[in-house]
């Protein structure tokens, strides 16, 4: 914050870097320029913090070099209040003509246009730091696709035939601009240091392939992302290629929280989750601007890293062994947030299965089973791959609307699925009853599906393994009564689960249902179907609770099995 009157006053660079080194830190990312656009080094281009009396970043970089700590320079690209105040034409312009966000109490109150003069300014600052200091890494944060309709952006959108009056097109253009800026920064930076470590944060990982040399997955489980975000990202990012991925958690509870130090077990469990998935540990802090040494924080980090380092030989370059893929060929925003994906990841994790989350960016040929959760409509490329997979005798489990064409008119691989699409199923609530081939461990009664779905007709030799049960009435209000209590009536002939060779299809969106209700019955029936296709999974366990997570990794001539047994309390805001 610009208002802080004593930046760097208490900073003891020797003690700080000694402590960092003793924690076992080999890579430290420190702000050259912060989220408010102020620099902490001697700049001729930007604005050094007005209360800082010396070259703080310079001093730090010199000490890091002397002590063998690789230093990365942090820049925030998307937000920079100081520069936005000095150059109002550098900030984004919204549809209604505003350049400030409402409500204004947010770090994102003023966001930067990647096509304005700010673009060259930022590139020049990066170059300045790389020329002046022994810096070996670069983190460019918040390259967020803030929509902008400033004249520069509008002109280019017109040239590209993009609709500058449509929010989604403008947002897409902002993303293109962000990735282009990331690429240009990387190119200029590599000219100065060809071995530079580079992580741009925020555009989709797939668009940053070839630009980033490593990736950060940032997750604060106590904050907005919750505990179901990292499990999805850990299994997705590793499928994109062979590069270092850092698992960044924080010592604090939320951004801007200077007074939080989360329990040792919380931070450690999150880092171990990453390590069991090939991700390197990274603990984020909020450095006190006065430079106060935060011994309590450093003590905790040191204790955690000391323990983790005893196991380093078994983490080094270990790769996860997986045999199932959850196929999710959607945008990064969906991958980050979708409920049915989180639910599928949770369900398979509880079943101790070894799996990845894949998009079209990776090869699917190594997987024995592909799972299509709830709403995966098949485009041409997905269809081609699935057809090949099934022809090779490998298995598919799809649920709900998955497998339909993008217009939701028919199953794209009707022959392979062995069912015909008849339309949406009106039952609300929908129940089902499972036949003897798939009912192991299930109560013998009509069970709730907790979701909507479709109606299908089984063809040829397709077996119907479960049937829908109609409710007496649908949920409704008839002017006099709320139809809230709607018991199951009669079993229908409508299939709820069909199996044709190696392809199983659930008529309803059971992963959405599992997200909403965590119904153990839905997990059990899914597990029974999976067990028919994958009778010998990589891992089987006895006496492990559902919350224990199991991962298998591999190094030459040995395999590691990681057991993680922590459970987060639901009594505070943890999602």
């Amino acid at each position: 914050m610009k208002a802080i009157p004593d930046v760097g006053e208490n900073f003891d660079v020797e003690t700080f870097t000694d402590r960092i080194r003793n924690c076992g830190v080999d890579y430290l990312v420190f702000h050259a320029r912060c989220n408010q656009g102020l620099a902490y080094y001697n700049t001729r281009i930007g604005t050094r913090h007005p209360s800082l009396k010396y070259d703080l970043f310079g001093k730090l970089s010199e000490a890091c070099q002397r002590k063998g700590i690789t230093l990365g320079a942090y820049f925030n690209a998307g937000i920079s209040s100081e520069e936005g105040l000095q150059h109002r034409e550098w900030t984004t312009l919204y549809f209604d003509g505003r350049s400030l966000r409402e409500p204004r109490f947010t770090p994102h109150v003023r966001t930067m246009c990647y096509n304005s003069g700010y673009r060259d300014h930022l590139i020049e600052m990066v170059k300045e730091v790389l020329h002046q200091y022994p810096v070996e890494g670069l983190m460019i944060d918040c390259l967020i696709n803030y929509p902008c309709i400033c004249p520069v952006c509008v002109q280019e959108m017109k040239k590209r035939n993009m609709d500058w009056s449509d929010l989604s097109a403008v947002t897409r253009f902002a993303e293109i601009s962000a990735v282009r800026l990331a690429k240009d920064i990387a190119e200029e930076a590599m000219k100065i240091n060809p071995d530079l470590l580079i992580s741009n944060n925020y555009p989709s990982y797939e668009e940053l392939l070839g630009i980033n040399t490593y990736f950060d997955v940032v997750s604060l489980p106590a904050s907005d992302s919750g505990y179901e975000f990292m499990p999805v990202m850990a299994r997705y990012v590793r499928t994109l290629g062979d590069f270092p991925v850092l698992n960044m958690t924080g010592r604090f509870y939320d951004w801007g929280d200077f007074g939080g130090l989360r329990p040792e077990e919380a931070i450690k469990s999150e880092l171990l989750y990453g390590l069991a998935n090939g991700m390197r540990p990274n603990i984020g802090g909020h450095f006190h601007p006065r430079g106060d040494l935060e011994n309590a924080v450093l003590d905790r980090v040191e204790r955690i890293y000391k323990e983790l380092r005893t196991m380093e030989p078994w983490f080094d370059n270990a790769k996860n062994i997986t045999e199932i893929a959850i196929v999710y060929p959607k945008k990064i925003a969906n991958i980050r947030g979708d409920r049915q994906l989180k639910s599928a990841v949770r369900m398979l994790s509880e079943l101790k299965q070894q799996f990845d989350v894949v998009t079209l960016a990776s090869d699917w040929s190594k997987y024995k089973v592909l799972i299509f959760p709830d709403d995966i409509l098949f485009d041409e490329e997905t269809t081609r791959r699935v057809k090949k997979h099934v022809n090779e005798g490998k298995a598919v489990i799809s649920t709900g609307f998955s497998g339909l064409d993008p217009e939701k008119k028919h199953f794209v691989l009707e022959q392979e699925w062995g069912i015909k699409f008849l339309g949406e199923n009106p039952f609300d609530p929908a129940y089902f009853t499972v036949g003897e081939n798939c009912n192991k461990g299930l109560p013998d009664m009509p069970l709730s599906l907790y979701s909507n779905g479709i109606e299908v007709e089984a063809s040829g030799k397709t077996r119907t393994e479960a049937r829908l049960v109609k409710p007496y009435h649908n949920r409704d209000w008839d002017g006099e009564y709320a139809f809230y209590y709607n018991p199951p009536d009669k079993v229908t002939e409508k299939p709820a689960l069909t199996i044709n060779g190696q392809v199983a299809h659930f008529s309803h969106r059971i992963f959405s249902g599992y997200y909403d209700k965590a119904s153990v019955e839905l997990r059990t029936v899914f597990s029974n179907v999976l067990g028919r296709f994958l009778a010998k999974p990589l891992v089987k366990t006895k006496n492990l609770p559902s919350f224990t997570r199991v991962f298998v990794t591999e190094q030459p001539e040995r395999r590691m099995v990681h057991l993680l047994s922590w459970k987060y309390a639901n009594d505070r805001r943890t999602h």
Binding site: E270, M560, L564
Partner: protein
């Protein structure tokens, strides 16, 4: 929020051995040896106790 590790006991973990000849099975980092049996394509390992995190190593 996570606060405490959970302690479990008498766990059996079976790892498909995929035709590899695993023989050295221990808990890292202390290299505590674990007993195991081979049956049905799996190596079945008994873990007497696990608190929070266990790192099981199966070497050829």
């Amino acid at each position: 929020m996570i606060e405490e590790p959970i302690e479990l006991d008498n766990i059996t973990l079976s790892l498909r051995h995929d035709d590899r000849n695993f023989k050295n099975i221990y808990l890292a980092p202390k290299k505590e040896r674990l007993s195991y049996t081979l049956k049905g394509g799996y190596v079945h390992i008994n873990i007497p106790k696990s608190k929070g995190y266990s790192l099981l190593v199966i070497e050829e």
